[in-house]
Amino acid sequence: MAKVEKKGSVSEELLREFFREMLLIRRFEEKVEERFRAGELPGFLHVAIGQEACAVGVCRALEEGDVIASTHRAHGHTLAKGTHPNEVMAELYGKLEGTSHGYGGSMHLYDVERGNLGANAVVGGGLPATVGAALAFKMRDEPRVAVAFFGDGATNIGTFHESLNLAQLWQVPAVFVCENNHWAESTPAKQQLPIEDLTERAAAYGMPAMHVDGQEIEEVYASAVAALDHARGGRGPVFLLLETYRLTGHYVGDPQVYRPKGELQELRETQDPITKLREKLELSDEEFEQADREAHELVEASVEFAKAGTDPRPEDALKNLYA
């Protein structure tokens, strides 16, 4: 099996950019939780607090023209792929100014212009289309890569297996990013996975795999760069396994009765990717507070933008069905 090599290190300047993005995503999602609890946001919301390094590390490694498919936990991927917080928040408020003009919502964030082919509310649902996008790139001889985000829970569903099988068989330029947060909704890994090392699933298809700490953004970024290079270079798909932690419930409002007592507290103290990067960068309190202030301002502005947005007319529901 081909081996995918990581190379190079990440400049401090770039890491500081990553920090600001991760913090923005964190503050954005905390605001989403707050506004949902305040009764302002309709629907079914899932935040990825704790998984910011996965979103930012992978998306910042992408090149112009690369595409992603996301999951029901999509705010971070969407922001990291370059969509403005205003547009994401407006979508969550169901406004015409939102990414999907109110037709999608939190679980269906699309930004095709920026290469986001859509968040998917069916676990594993976006994987086959990722293979298809990669197939189109290969057939047209375009140096582009298609990336699928999904969780450990998705590795149990048929689309995952059929997609990895076909991608490897056809050697398409795809990267399968598994964010293993160790919970499939409320079900822990030990109740849903008969193996511990999920790279074995890629190995079953002969697909090269990388296995890294998803809470260390430098690792995530370097691995993603290597995986994308591998795929772009015509050497076939890569399975990138990121060990991460969901420092919150499955959905906004989840009482998490299934979590062992003390787990969340401990994980928040030891596995917060933002704290880890802050420590690595040795940011002073002043530097942190400035970054935090900027993030807060962007998020507050996005809420104002969204609230001031235009409600669709009910009959707009009849548009956008057929091309």
Partner: protein, 328 residues
């Protein structure tokens, strides 16, 4: 005018599109060297090569889903699902993904995908290789559903499906592959959403799809001998549906029979009957008669299979009921 079989007509539309346009390619199980389980794609591997005539694993979710992804990138894939029974395996990708990407994205995406499939009884495969499931997909906003019944129609409509910017589920009927007909020299695209009146008549309209178009034409000939003049309409496109042609015909004849091979209950004919009663209620002289399969899976033994699915006789009897005669 060349004579083509239904099978050759499908192949001709695929081949012409692929000659014209590098974005069109086909994928499916056993479609390359074997030429497809129905022989539709025979010879295409030689002409177009394995990049564009792609054999896939037995993997319906991935083959349909991959075609969706390629379509979103602007290709025009035609995915073949060997038997329509196996659409159930890919149903998630068809129903939740292909049908909804455009809508969920607020109009950002197009999915110019064609899913070709086939089914139909008459050869005793039993319960899992010959169902008629077209009505399932008519129920899903975002899909187009086509079901042509002649070589000319299948050629012209497949072309239109390939060049439509929406996901199209394209049903072919197994027992029609050998049916031959003179077709136009040049492929003439047939607009999606236009029914075909196969036979003019004055007393009863039969709205039929697939194999039942031919059974209905035969029944119409039989009824004519009894002095009953029958019009036969094939919608060809189930979604969008040419309601106008159907309703106009019924307003003329004042009687209607809907006929398809699928199970009658919740079949496509139920929708057609609803359209007729709503738009032509005051013109109806008799209840709309329904012809379809009995409410059981397809049995294996030929005598039972023959009993379960409808034929000319059932259509003829339904026609005669609408004119108040018992068909003896």
């Amino acid at each position: 005018m060349p004579e083509l079989s239904y099978r050759e007509a499908v192949r001709d539309a695929l081949s012409q599109a692929m000659r014209r346009d590098g974005d069109v390619f086909i994928m499916g199980e056993d479609i390359a060297e074997m030429g497809g389980s129905m022989g539709v794609t025979q010879g295409m591997l030689d002409e177009f090569g394995p990049e564009r005539v792609r054999n896939t694993p037995i993997s319906e979710m991935a083959l349909v889903g991959t075609a969706i992804g390629a379509a979103i990138q602007g290709m025009r894939p035609v995915a073949e699902v060997m038997y329509e029974d196996f659409l159930t395996l890919a149903a998630e990708q068809i129903v939740n993904q292909a049908a909804k990407h455009r809508y969920m994205s607020g109009g950002q995406l197009k999915v110019p995908l064609t899913i070709r499939t086939q089914g139909g009884a008459g050869w005793s495969p039993g319960a899992q290789h010959a169902q008629q499931l077209e009505a399932w997909f008519v129920h899903i906003p975002g899909l187009k559903v086509l079901f042509p019944s002649t070589p000319t129609d299948v050629r012209g409509l497949l072309w239109s499906a390939i060049y439509d910017d929406n996901p199209v589920v394209f049903f072919e009927h197994r027992t029609l592959y050998g049916l031959k007909e003179d077709v136009p020299d040049e492929l003439e695209p047939i607009p999606i959403g236009k029914a075909r009146v196969h036979r003019d008549g004055e007393d009863v309209t039969v709205i039929a799809t697939g194999r039942l178009v031919h059974e209905s034409l035969a029944a119409a000939g039989q009824a004519e001998e009894d002095g009953v003049s029958v019009e036969v309409v094939d919608p060809r496109t189930l979604q969008p549906l040419d309601e106008e042609t159907i309703v106009d015909s019924v307003k003329k004849t004042n009687r209607a029979v809907v006929a398809h091979e699928a199970v009658t209950r919740m079949g496509f004919g139920a929708e057609v009957a609803a359209v007729i009663q709503h738009q032509a209620f005051d013109w109806l002289d008799a209840p709309v008669e329904r012809v379809g399969a009995k409410f059981v899976p397809l049995p294996f033994a030929p005598v039972m299979e023959e009993f379960v699915v409808p034929h000319q006789a059932e259509v003829y009897e339904a026609i005669m009921r609408t004119v108040g005669r018992n068909g003896d």
